[in-house]
Amino acid sequence: MTLTRILSAAALTLGLALPALAQDKTKVGFIYVGPIGDGGWTYEHDQGRLAVEEHFGDQVETVFQESVPEGNDAERAIMQMARRGADLIFTTSFGYMDSTINVAREFPDVKFEHATGYKTADNVSVYSARFYEGRAIQGHIAGKMTESNIIGYIASYPIPEVIRGINAAYIHAKKVNPDVEFKVIWAYTWFDPPKEADAATALIDQGADVILQHTDSTAPQAAAEKAGGVITFGQASDMAEYKPTPRVSSIIDNWAPYYIARTQAVIDGTWESTETWDGIAPGMVEIGEITDAVPADVKEEALAMKEAIASGDYHPFTGPLNRQDGSAWLAEGEVADDGTLLGMDFFVEGLTAEIPQ
């Protein structure tokens, strides 16, 4: 152990001392939860990977593995990538959290970046986007546009990320439409097009005329289009194929600048373990075109909210807000702190659905 440590330390010093000799390409790996053609979450991460390739050209080599299940398989996939000489590995799903930490412990010289998680280490950073900012805008449009006052929400897993999205959308739908009701289905999957379509159909059959999704494929869009008279929002990616309806707007995750910056940091040797949580303002969260299916005044309000969030004038979680059980959470004008948001495990008052425990 000590010997390898000395050797690796020596190798590191040598590498730092002689950067000119280090002609080796920097190898950047990506672990994806779905196929790169899912049209949503994984697709956008892969766009980020392609941006890294384009930006660095011959300096960098990228590798990726798609459709890696969360759990033990993930650990094997990440380890394999580390063994094959990756210098930096992005693991792009919440369920890879423990696997990433475990592999990182065994490969102290490899840098890891885990998306949407909260566990860090000396060589593990976490990064995520403030999707809830986009959800707030969606909630506003949804609340204004629903005629049945029933909004269907296809949730994936009961994790803070998803719960935050439901809360943000509900708060802003309720604000403009006090009669609004949210029906939530927990799909327990990130990517399963038939199941996602079935979930959308179930919600539509039960009266929903707006479908929000937190799963990765475009299947709910197709189901909504088939049903007719239903609006949806692109999730993680623009899903522009379903414009102008059912998809009336979208949240687009733009990972490219972050991936380029982190790869640069590894090349420069300045990489440090960090926690990044960026939103609309730095451009990590983008709002896709609001189509003409949305009335002009609603579109204007939505864009105004986007501006207010970007400038920092408005926070989607601003009091007064109560928890689902009626207890006070935020006082008038009080803004939620990041800690509470990152660990959010409760619904806000008014939601009738329950969070699986």
Partner: protein
């Protein structure tokens, strides 16, 4: 809890839509396994059928031609498996797994440029008079042709295996290929045909996903349906009727649990979520308490010299 939000007519109609893909795939695999061949490539053949059917339906504007193409696509892929296992005498488990991986990759390649396209609608038949019957009409008589074709196929496979000479030969080959060979039956030829039939059925099941149930093309969109179909064959004790029951149970409970979730029914979501698997397995395992067992030569390699 507000169960009134669920419309039983719509629920039963979507139950049938949800169960058709796995029903078709499982039925094909049933025939393959009854002939003594274990083809684990169902998932790969399904997804190949899904993209073949989708691409052809989009280009010709006809879902019917799409379904035919899907059957061909699945069968052609299964031919690869047949060549490997029946002529090159490769291991069936390994070849089947390889076929799944190959099918997933091939479909992703073929599907480039087909994302986000809307397929031509597969019209429901809306059988005159019958489909106007309240309640029963929408549940039983307002589906598309494939639903009825799948049901007819169940009956045909059942009758073929049970009553016909061809069925007897197929079963003989599956139970004991050496004896069948000694009697002069062409073991390899029978198995080849069974494998092609299985491939075609899996292809149809896949196309039903991409043309009717979702309807769109997405990479990896079968998301494990092929494996469910495989498991279904085993739990259904290699019997056509039970495959139908299993597919309906699985598809039905999958849809039912999604419908129950938003009603606030006091059953934890985790249990609802696992219920399709649990109940289907439980029912079929209890039913297999009789003397049903796997075909005798299942998965074994056959060569005329042995």
């Amino acid at each position: 809890m507000d169960l009134s939000a669920i419309d039983p007519t719509l629920l039963l109609a979507s139950l049938i839509v949800a169960s058709t893909p796995i029903l078709l795939a499982a039925l094909g695999e049933l025939v393959v396994e009854r002939a003594g061949v274990l083809n684990l490539g169902v998932e790969g053949m399904m997804i190949t059928g899904a993209i073949c059917g989708f691409a052809i339906a989009v280009n010709t504007g006809s879902p019917v031609i799409g379904f035919v193409a899907a059957a061909f696509g699945g069968a052609i892929l299964s031919l690869l498996f047949a060549l490997l296992t029946q002529f090159a005498l490769a291991n069936q488990v390994a070849s089947g797994l390889a076929l799944t991986l190959f099918g997933l990759g091939l479909s992703a390649l073929l599907g480039q440029g087909y994302q986000g396209i809307k397929p031509p609608p597969t019209r429901s038949l809306d059988i005159p008079v019958l489909s106007d019957i309240p309640v029963l009409g929408p549940i039983l008589f307002s589906h598309d042709l494939m639903v009825y074709l799948a049901l007819a196929l169940v009956a045909a496979v059942w009758a073929m295996l049970k009553y016909t000479r061809a069925g007897l030969i197929l079963r003989a080959v599956g139970e004991n290929h050496d004896a069948a060979h000694a009697l002069g039956y062409k073991v390899v030829r029978v198995r080849l045909l069974a494998i092609l039939f299985g491939g075609a059925c899996a292809g149809l099941g896949g196309a039903y996903l991409s043309l009717v149930r979702v309807p769109q093309w997405t990479e990896g969109m079968t998301a494990g349906s092929g494996w469910i179909a495989l498991a279904l064959v085993v739990f259904a004790s290699w019997k056509a009727g039970r495959v139908l029951l299993g597919a309906w149970l699985f598809g039905g409970i999958s849809v039912l649990q999604l419908n129950l979730q938003p009603t606030g029914i006091p059953i934890p979501v985790e249990y609802l979520s696992m219920s399709p698997y649990l109940i289907t397995i439980l029912v079929l395992v209890i039913m297999s308490g009789d003397k049903s067992r796997a075909p005798g030569s299942l998965g074994r390699t056959f060569h005329a010299s042995q």
